[in-house]
Amino acid sequence: MGRLRYTISRLLQAIPVILGVITITFLLTDAIPGDPVSIMLGPSPSAQQAAAIRAKFGLDQPLHIRYLNYLVDVIQLDLGTSLYYQVPVTEKIAERLPITLYLLLSSFTFALLTAVPLGIISAKRRNTATDHVSRVVALFGVSTPSFWIGLMLIIVFSYWLGYFPATNLILPWTSPSQIDGASTQVDVIVKSIHHLILPTITLGTLQMAAFTRIERSSMLEVLGEEYVKLARAYGVSERTILRKHAFRNAQLPLITLVGLQLTSALGGAVLTETVFSINGMGRLIITAIQNQDFQLVMGTTLVFGLVFVIGVIVTDLSYAYVDPRVSFEDSE
């Protein structure tokens, strides 16, 4: 019951955050110099044409009226109509969001599967060659822009070696009839993974590096705790100490970071999707900004904000599973 109440309470707390996101995005979008109608109609629209477009999209209303109208619409889950695509924003988001979530899921999976062992090994073999290599890899990962990694991967593995395609991400839920050379859903999934490898590494490298660093330092801290020393004194094997006593306790900082890394991952998705021509939210937001499509910019930003807030709530909830000392009752 405590967990449910806690979840509801966190969701309620998210409302002012989302309201803040809407307000700030709305004001910033409005402050962008330039006229979206000019971009839409070209250099010399007739006054009549421009007026018609402004009226159609409510751009002829004062700022506060547009803001209030937008808030009312959002409450009704209506994010308006895209100036550029001329379709409801929710329709475009529904089309693109699963693709970005698929990419995020794969990159986080890649990051966690590589970072956790790397961090543990690095901590366990502190100041050895293995540790140094692991730290250099992590430093490289956090300091290298994802678009550069993506381009290098394309040049090496797609252009030179021809091992992976550079574009055309296949989604695992696509019907086999739509994919040449695929007769079953398994074939589609295999092809999907083949297409996903380079984008996953591109987007996942930054997370992997950040996770490795936190896993290493957290593990080092836990391995220095009194109870670990005691276990060693009792003659418990290092493997058991790591597995039973240290590992679980060292994961709390990592879990926190996973939630927080969502923001940088969403930012990285914008670049990764552009480089690999993946038709997700990242490319959508770029198109929206380039065309000053206010409704679409606000809609996509709102969804990014929501994804982040949900990610943080899920992170908080997951603490209790990892650390029994965390009580939702206490937190209330």
Partner: protein
Amino acid sequence: MSKQEKTFHSKLNRRRLLQGLGGAGIAGLAGCSGGGGGDATTEAEETTEGQQTTESQETTTESGGPSGRLRIALVKSPIEFDPIVLNDVPSTQVVDRVVEGLYGYDESTGVVPQLAAGEPEISNEGTRYVVEIHEDATFSNGDPVTASDVKYSYEAPVDEQTENASELNMVDTVSVVDEKTVQFDLKYPFAAFKNTLAWYVVPESVREEDKQAFNTGGNLVGSGPFTFEEWQEGQYALVAADEDYWGEPMPNVAEVEFVPVEEATTRVTTLKNGENDIIEEIPPKQYPTVRSISDASIQEVPGIGYFYAAFNCKEGPTADSRVREAIDYAFSMDQAVQNYVEPTGIRQYSPFPASIAEDWEFPVDEWKQIPNDKDIDQTKSLFDEAGVPDDYSFKVIVPPDDKREQIGITISNGIKEAGWDASVQRLDWGAFLDKYVSGSEDDYNIYTLGWSGTPDPDAFTYYLFGRDDATLGVTNGTYYGNNSENGKRVSEKFIEARETPDREQRRQLYIEATTTLLEDRAHLPAYNLKNSFGVKDYVSDFHPHPVDSFHLSTGHNNVSVNKQ
């Protein structure tokens, strides 16, 4: 002339302001070419199994019917397909295969009949055009193309106030003479109207039945050699050969898939590994890379465009022609174009793209002599003579495009070398479009921009140098036409030329006015870009086109895929 009368009568590149062209990729593959690879055709077969993939690209059969699939990588995704409303280049590149006009372009810039049976009959001092529609012309659904459809197609953009309305505003009335004859009466003699006759013709009944479906391709019907098949926004658009096409030739290729790949490096990679058979827009730094691909080549043709630096002739020191000439002395445009534009573009010495200048026999060699060689002493001397304050800081604004920014930086560096301050502001399109026509010295002294249009001199003069309500401060940010007696005369000559039916008289007017404006340095012409494509060797008879971007299946070419 009112705002309603201004025209944007190009079927392609209707965004006249060249926004999309010239964008370079995030990084180049230059220097990375020549590595690894082996047989690219084999690699392609092994590594590309995407949606709608090349695996279906089989060798064109010898049975005579269309076969094989051609994959073309575009820079952007098409977003809509109703010719009455669409207003972006990628959408046009798809729709041009499906929908025809009364007239189209030949292998260059000549206008030739498409749905029309022959040349238009022109009367009433150039204000009446009567066109007969080809007897056999039918839409892909089997319905005949009628004069009523033509009338509807020309009236709908204006009636519905779509983004294309201004392109047809010179048309006063369209009348149905009989089922196969249509008559256009213009508000004024418009010499370039034949280009407007290349406007699309759509079936009224089909479009009226469901405009939304027509726009998304669901029931898009045209009279062209291909039919619209499928579209996934941001992923691909597919057209297929219409085996019942009324005209000739029947396309060789069975299907054409248009795939958006925005990032230039990725686009080049997809050509190398065979994910795509043709890619468009090769950035300058990637020419060597594409050239090094063993089974592909670059095919290109200068487009119908004009890139330039322009001066604020309304306010500030650049309103004085001596200051403009001084700035011309401050740098070498030849050098700047050579450094930053070639080989993807070519130097241009007048507002007219090479094909127009050639077609109209304009004195390009004479105009080539007008730009000054770099001479900083002359710059200083002319600045002093014009009384430019020593502490004056020149503002150069540029749009978000690397080439145009480099031209702006070169100009700014030249001014600095002469001892005056100058700054370059790279603005987003929205901000740039607001500023470059304000005429305010606070916003700009100089700007760099590009322009595109139909292959007629009018498209490159009236909008850029006009002095009426439709152009001054709307498309003409120089205010040159209002600045001086010379400017006024130039502007009036351009307006006179557009309303003069006689070609030779028009030619003389263009020559006189252009020579004056070049000598007055209202603009410093810079370059024109090529429509460039990387094409696999197994694709034959592909034809890059100056106006239409490319032709696939026309009277002068018929592309085929001969992949082994």
